[in-house]
């Protein structure tokens, strides 16, 4: 199976460390992949509210590009991109008109049969279940796995295990020697797209998430979405104001945590790029 990775905008900007960790983990586990050639923005959170056609065509161009390049699988680390691509793929496959429309705008016939993976399920199915990976540096930490919304909703589209109480990240964490906690906010919204337009709300929502994680004894948060990461990591000053206390809990990307357990150097995993320092690892 030929595998392509679609980084999307965030993974080349605000979430570089995510891409770095994804790449190095894949390399370490010698999984071959190529970046989708000449990729474009997926339209993310904005397009589908503003221009329906655009929100269909942008992702389909990415899918087409990946398929034209002879790929059968497409890994999309960014939860938002994943959500868009999956949505559009479903549209194309279920609705002939959409398919026709998209094909004409791309002027090529798009099949959209490529398998689109989010990072979490990809790691479980294609790594932990296939290879027996040795985690030389088990991550002996209490972790709170935070899924956010884009990864798990809408269930009909993303088909991600149990939308209200997903378990996959926890399973992965156990594998790498960490101890996932049971908490209440794993699928609550972090404020996502409001991060620029209405930081207040973002801070408030993110604060609740962090607070619950801390109260329940988590030593770090594990995420799989650049947006969540930004909000939880970057908005600390405001969050601390709201909670009226220091909040030092670090927020790691799933792949960073795995990287650490694989014994990859923190620097190579981009752990030094975080606002909240990831100490004593």
């Amino acid at each position: 199976m030929k595998l392509a990775v679609y980084p999307g905008c965030s993974l080349n900007g605000s979430a570089r460390e995510y891409y770095e960790s994804v790449s190095i983990v894949l390399e370490k586990l010698n999984i071959e992949y190529s970046e989708v050639p000449d990729w474009n923005c997926c339209g993310a959170t904005a397009a589908h509210n503003l221009n329906k056609e655009l929100s269909l065509v942008l992702p389909s161009r990415i899918i087409a590009a990946a398929e034209n390049d002879g790929n059968e699988e497409l890994l999309v680390p960014c939860a938002a991109c994943f959500n868009r691509l999956k949505t559009v793929q479903r549209n194309i496959c279920q609705n002939k008109e959409v398919k026709a429309k998209v094909s004409s705008s791309l002027d090529q016939n798009i099949s959209a049969t490529i398998q689109i993976h989010n990072i979490v399920e990809f790691i479980r199915d294609n790594i932990l279940q296939k290879k027996d990976v040795e985690f030389i540096k088990p991550l002996h930490k209490k972790v709170a796995c935070y899924y956010g919304c884009l990864l798990v909703r809408p269930h009909s589209v993303v088909e991600f295990d149990r939308m209200e109480d997903p378990q996959i990240m926890e399973q992965i964490m156990v594998k790498i020697g960490a101890e996932p906690i049971d908490w209440a906010y794993k699928t609550e919204c972090c404020g996502a797209g409001f991060t620029i337009s209405n930081a207040e709300i973002v801070a408030k929502l993110s604060a609740k998430i962090l607070e619950d994680a801390i109260d329940r004894g988590a030593e770090m948060l594990i995420v799989a979405c650049p947006m969540c990461h930004a909000n939880l990591d970057m908005r600390r000053p405001m969050i601390e104001k709201i909670l009226k206390k220091e909040v030092k809990i670090p927020v790691l990307y799933l792949t960073q945590a795995i990287g650490l357990a694989l014994g990859i150097d923190a620097g190579k995993l981009g752990l030094k790029r975080h606002f909240v320092p990831v100490l004593n690892i």
Binding site: H155, S156, R162, E164, D165, D182, W183, A184, E188, D212, D215
Partner: protein, 669 residues
């Protein structure tokens, strides 16, 4: 040689105005086999019928064609009239020259000609008709009732009181079903046990009712009026005759920490136990999974203490065979598990319970003797939240349908809570309040106004524990979707009502159809709600769909009256318009090649295998046989049979061929 009489009806102007009836009569008389034809103003009128009868006698007719209105209207009338005059009713056909001719075409040649054609068609059909005798099926006047909940109890009592034998089979050690678990009942708040247990006792004492508890249906053969049921009576390990029900054994049994099913696992019972004090029969059962003796071979304390030496450790399952004429399914319902609602934390948090568990808490005979106490620490909850539609009306995760009873019992629960904890605080998250029923809406209003229950219209997104409290996060859609957070001490989920487990297997065992939710399906959604598609098997109560007590009871009485009706004669008569597999002389015996694919085509399981034997009893051939008791005469098997070995009386292949030919070759007239 056929001697057919044709009777053309004017139906006043209805036919006469557009069709030249006299001409139709005149032309019909020329048809081969027609010895007499006449037109008359009103054939269905008394003189009309007399005219037919008179002619039959005078002309000694062998068959009759009445050209008038639709057979769906007057076929019975004319068939009856003719049989009174000595012509077999199935030698009478009607040509529909009103609905299908005079009323839908303009006056004229063509219309008259069509009337003639229709008459011609029926004349040719009648020539191929055969005199038929209506089918008589003997009826064994005993009923088998499966399920001893309130529905089963009601049906049994009604049938038994009408003087017929009843065999009531209950899966559990005692009858009573879910109703016996309930505390008070809406909308009257009278105690469930108080109204149920007298009925249970009646069952036990009624000489016409044979109660077989702790038993299940093993297999069923036969058909309406003539079923043969095998019932597996599970080993109770107690001799019911010897046992006096003193209960000493249950007090002495050492293994006492077994979760009690009756208390929805909120209390404990012993290994030898009676599910609840008022159980009928009031005889204990040994639960062999948990009995020390069956586990390690030692103990036998119950045997030692039993004053009447009624314990039978070596007792085995017993198969009881019964012959019955009718069966009523009253297997009831179950409450849905909540595992697909992880966000509500059922099973994770002790104080998130189901409605049925709350019933036990509220019940005076329950584990807390009627106090509302948290399972976790026995504290009385100051704040309680009820979540309605926990699974119902939720195609995404639960079930599409409305469980119907939850709105009412949730209101009741909140009320009971307020009565027991007057200064407590009760909130209900709901989608809609469905309180359609006598005094139901008033009941809900009372909960809201008098008992100050907070009704919050909206769904709950998550329940989680935080410093000893259950945080209930939801939305109030009447306040524009405003988020609501309640710190509750206890959460009650109104879990959906679903088909009782084993319903599907049972349905397949006795060949009744069931819907996608495993509820048994009625023969007709409006007009035959208590019958199944298998003749002689009826439905009562929640095994058909979620129902409250009054509904279950009325349905039960409905089913009972159907059974009593069936039992009112020692034979039942059925229309002989049924399929028949041909038989012929040896060596062929029957042209049926025995592929038996017709069996899968029959909607009524009316086709069975029959072994044809020679005079020495050697099996010569196995062929299909249609059971006249079950066949409803749809004819699907007839059209399906490749060797045309099945034909259907009244719509036989020969009749149809004759009709087609007659209809299309009108050059003869």
């Amino acid at each position: 040689m056929a001697r057919i009489g044709v009777f053309i009806c004017h139906c006043g102007e209805n036919i006469g105005a557009t069709v030249d009836c006299a001409k139709v009569a005149e032309l019909s008389s020329r048809l081969e086999g027609v010895t007499y034809s006449v037109d008359y103003k009103y054939m269905c009128s008394d003189p009309g019928q007399t005219l037919i009868k008179k002619t039959i006698k005078e002309q000694n007719l062998t068959g009759v064609v009445v050209a008038a209105c639709s057979p769906r209207m007057h076929e019975p009338t004319f068939r009856k009239a003719c049989s009174e005059a000595g012509v077999n009713p199935y030698m009478v056909e009607m040509a529909n020259i009103r609905e299908h001719c005079s009323w839908v075409h303009d006056k004229g040649e063509a219309t008259t000609q069509k009337a003639v054609d229709l008459v011609h068609m029926m004349v040719e059909k009648v020539k191929n008709n055969k005199p038929l005798q209506s089918i008589k099926v003997p009826v064994k006047k005993a009923a088998l009732i499966l399920g001893g909940g309130i529905a089963g109890i009601q049906t049994s009592l009604d049938i038994a009181n009408a003087g017929h034998k009843v065999i009531l089979v209950e899966r559990e050690p005692s009858i009573g079903g879910h109703m016996s678990q309930l505390s008070e009942t809406f909308p009257t708040l009278d105690c469930s046990q108080c109204i149920l247990t007298p009925r249970m006792v009646e069952v036990a004492q009624n000489p016409n009712i044979e109660l077989i508890s702790y038993a299940e249906l093993e297999s069923l053969e036969g058909f309406i009026g003539n079923f043969k049921a095998k019932i597996r009576k599970k080993a109770r390990s107690v001799d019911e005759k010897a046992c006096t029900g003193c209960g000493l054994c249950t007090t002495k049994c050492p293994s006492r920490k077994i979760p009690s099913e009756f208390n929805e696992n909120m209390g404990y019972r012993t290994a030898i136990y009676v599910p609840f004090p008022q159980a009928v029969p009031n005889k204990p059962v040994i639960d062999r999974e948990n009995c020390t003796y069956y586990k390690i071979g030692k103990c036998k304390i119950c045997e030692i203490v039993c004053p009447t030496k009624a314990i039978r450790f070596d007792q085995e399952d017993e198969i009881i065979e019964k012959e019955v004429g009718a069966i009523v399914l009253a297997t009831g319902f179950n409450v849905l598990g909540t595992d697909f609602f992880p966000e509500y934390g059922y099973g994770k948090y002790k104080d998130v319970i189901t409605g049925l568990q709350f019933e036990r808490l509220a019940s005076a005979s329950g584990p807390t003797l009627g106090d509302i106490r948290r399972p976790s620490d026995g504290k009385i909850p100051e704040k309680i939240v009820f979540i309605a539609c926990a699974g119902s009306r939720d195609p995404a995760k639960g079930i599409e349908y409305c469980s119907k009873i939850c709105c009412m019992y949730t209101a009741k629960h909140a009320m009971l809570y307020k009565h027991k904890v007057p200064n407590g605080d009760a909130s209900i998250f709901y989608m809609d309040i469905r309180a359609a029923g006598k005094m139901y809406e008033e009941f809900v209003r009372r909960a809201i106004t008098e008992d100050e229950v907070h009704y919050i219209r909206g769904r709950v997104s998550r329940v989680y524990e935080k410093n000893g409290k259950l945080i209930v996060k939801g939305a109030d859609t009447l306040l524009g979707g405003m988020p609501v957070e309640i710190e509750a001490d206890m959460v009650v989920l109104a879990t959906a009502g679903v088909a009782s487990q084993g319903a599907e297997a049972l349905a397949q065992k006795i060949h009744v159809s069931y819907d996608t939710h495993k509820f048994f399906t009625e023969a007709h959604p409006k007009l035959r709600p208590v019958e199944t598609n298998t003749a002689g098997i009826f439905l009562a109560g929640a095994c058909h769909a979620p129902k409250d007590i009054p509904e279950s009871v009325s349905m039960a009485s409905g089913a009972a009256s159907k059974v009593i009706g069936l039992f009112s004669k020692s034979e039942m008569t059925r229309e002989p318009l049924i399929a028949i597999v041909n038989r012929s002389a040896p060596p062929v015996y029957s042209s049926c090649a025995g592929c038996f694919l017709c069996i899968s085509a029959c909607p009524y399981q009316a086709i069975e295998k029959e072994e044809l034997k020679d005079h020495r009893g050697k099996i010569m051939k196995t062929v299909a046989k249609v059971n006249p008791g079950l066949c409803q005469g749809c004819g699907t098997c007839v059209a399906f049979c490749r060797s045309n070995s099945i034909d259907i009386q009244g719509y036989s292949n020969e009749q149809v061929f004759a009709e087609i030919a007659a209809l299309l070759n009108n050059d003869t007239v």
